[in-house]
Amino acid sequence: MANLLHARDINSQSYPDFLDPIETASRGYLDALQEGALVSTSAHGYRYAPLIRELWDGSGIKPSDIRSKADFQEKAPFLDKDMIRAYRDGRGDPSGGMSAAVPGETVYIGTTSGTTGDPTPVPCGRRSPSEESFARDQWYFGARPGDYMAWIMFTFRTGHRRRIMGEMGIAELLFSMSPAEMPRLCEASRIYRPTFMSIMPNPLILALEQHFERSGEDPVDVFKSYKGALFGGEPLGERLRNLTKSWGLELFENTALGDVCGASECRMRNGFHAYEDLAFIECIDPVTLEQVPDGQIGELVVTTLVDRLTPLVRYRSGDLVTIDRSPCGCGRTHARFKLLGRASDQVLVKGRSILPREVLGHVECHSETRAGLFQIIRTDREMDELALRIGYDLTRLKTDVAELHARLHDRISTAFDVPLRVELVDEQELLKLGPPHKIPRVTKQ
């Protein structure tokens, strides 16, 4: 293999900080670009996606009514996942009326994780917007031609068709999303010395922790070539952030930008970067549907500006966010957003808003529950008590279950100051609720 490892050595030239100059474009340039793209996206979505056409016809809106961003924000109907699912189930259309069957462009159909139901199809062409945003993120984090990166992923997203890293001259070290792969990841890291890793979710970090505890392998040596790793799937708790930091591995959170593409935080840790040439983002009051000013909490609404195969137009993501359009310290000018949680996950207990992200730190800080596996039992949006189901590791039990229960109850009820009911279960039972990289954080029962 030695002959494969020297490409980085001959790449001594320097590269620009950003893969595409658009990342540092002025606000005026971005606004103009978006205005034109919104007009064409509206026309394309109306022409090719039957659900969009149905929604717009139902509202009496035609693409020709959209001549500016103001027109778009005033007139274009909203779309959400329930509408897509209803269309899918009612019409027998797997894409839920969102697949624009542009002849010759669709290459394959990826799917979402399917945590809460049938996976949603994501038609993809030769290069998807997600690959574009991913490539920019990798470049920002420091991956360059001649490098290796560790790519840990399910096949249901793209299968074996991803080209973007290869086209950048970066080789992907491929791993499945399984704890059993972690020893092989460590071996590959020592052989190939990759620059970056993606995606590293909670269960794999825990598997690595166990691997290092059992094998005695030095994590600092394993990860010494890494400039960072993307963390995704769920919120990142302080314990795991600090744990990986002690290994010399810096984690950056990644999330979906309303199913349009990906978004990652940068080294400034000022929120997720939304590439505004790929997507137009808005923040609305989820009840009144009125626009919410930047900096205030609202629901993220996303419109693709480039995806011809899934032309999501004014797609309500269900994510509660705040948006900041000021330039970032990293040099990029596009908007950032802070993710507070999913609107459908929010519970109001005695008037106090609680989201899974807020609970995580109070669960993962105990040895027995360090995996941070828990569910909020949400029988209604407004409830009289906070009900939690928490998974614990039998092998790490210090005294007995009652003592652990009391410890968790004390900490969480003190933190939230609301009536609390805690149910403890073997964490293996929660893991069965998969997919393996995450469990539903909110359940009705």
Binding site: M1, N3, L4, H6, A7, I10, N11, Q13, R88, P94, T106, V107, Y108, I109, G110, T111, G114, D118, P119, P121, P145, G146, Y148, W151, I152, M153, F154, T155, F156, R157, T158, G159, H160, R161, R163, M165, G166, G169, A171, E172, L173, L174, F175, S176, M177, S178, E181, R184, A188, I191, Y192, G434, P435, P436
Partner: protein, 223 residues
């Protein structure tokens, strides 16, 4: 800048229970896709039909060419992981897309379907199913299922055509032999990671006669 000696991806193959890293270029995958397309084409699927590939990300050398062949034929690919946890996805994809063919089923996926209370025979009825060795007999026993074998021979995926006389191996890409009772493999074309006389550990023999599908590539029959 010279990245011609740099791979596009590093997957893996397993021989005798031992995992080995295997580097590959995208151009190699697409080159091998031609032979895969020829095998898939024997089933005469109409363009636009769906084909589900069940594999793991490191199996790029084996299943990447298959996906490339699917695309060359105008078929639409979709994917699930090789895992019992993916049984829900497998069932949903087959139902939603009325998939014509499924490649890469193993016993763990069948177990997963059973765990979620689904009848694999009903799900696969009327479809082409390329099954891995530990699942082949079970799939072949399902009424109405067009069962064919697929086997990983080191970094290569052997795939049966409609005739089902053995697994086709891309003869332009690989030299194969059955010396010692196991299939051995050498690369013929330029590769970023060449293979020389690799003992795949798979017990079988090579059939040199042309397949009745008209393909003159060598066939591997398991012993």
């Amino acid at each position: 800048m010279n990245t011609t000696t740099h791979p596009d991806a590093v997957g893996r193959y397993v021989v005798h229970g031992q995992s080995h890293f295997f580097a590959i270029k995208r151009s190699e995958i697409e080159r091998c896709g031609l032979a895969a397309a020829r095998v898939i084409a024997t089933f005469e699927l109409l363009p636009g039909r769906f084909v589900l590939t069940i594999s793991l990300m490191p199996e790029i050398a084996q299943f990447g060419p298959f996906e490339s062949g699917v695309q060359l034929l105008g078929l639409l690919g979709t994917n699930a992981d090789l895992s019992p946890y993916e049984a829900t996805r497998v069932e949903a994809l087959v139902r939603l897309f009325d998939v014509a063919a499924i490649c890469g089923i193993d016993k763990s996926v069948l177990d997963g379907l059973a765990m979620i209370g689904k009848n694999a025979a009903e799900i696969f009825k009327g479809r082409i199913v390329w099954a891995r060795p530990d699942a082949y007999a079970l799939v072949a026993a399902m009424p109405g299922v067009i069962a064919r074998r697929c086997v990983e021979l080191g970094p290569v995926l052997g795939l049966e055509c409609a005739a089902g006389e053995g697994m086709h191996i891309d003869g332009r890409e690989w030299d194969i032999s059955d010396a010692g009772g196991t299939i051995r493999l050498s690369s013929r074309a330029y590769r970023i990671q060449p293979v020389t006389d690799l003992d795949t550990g798979v017990k079988g023999h090579v059939v040199g006669l042309p397949c009745s599908c008209g393909n003159r590539d060598p066939l591997v029959v398991l012993d």
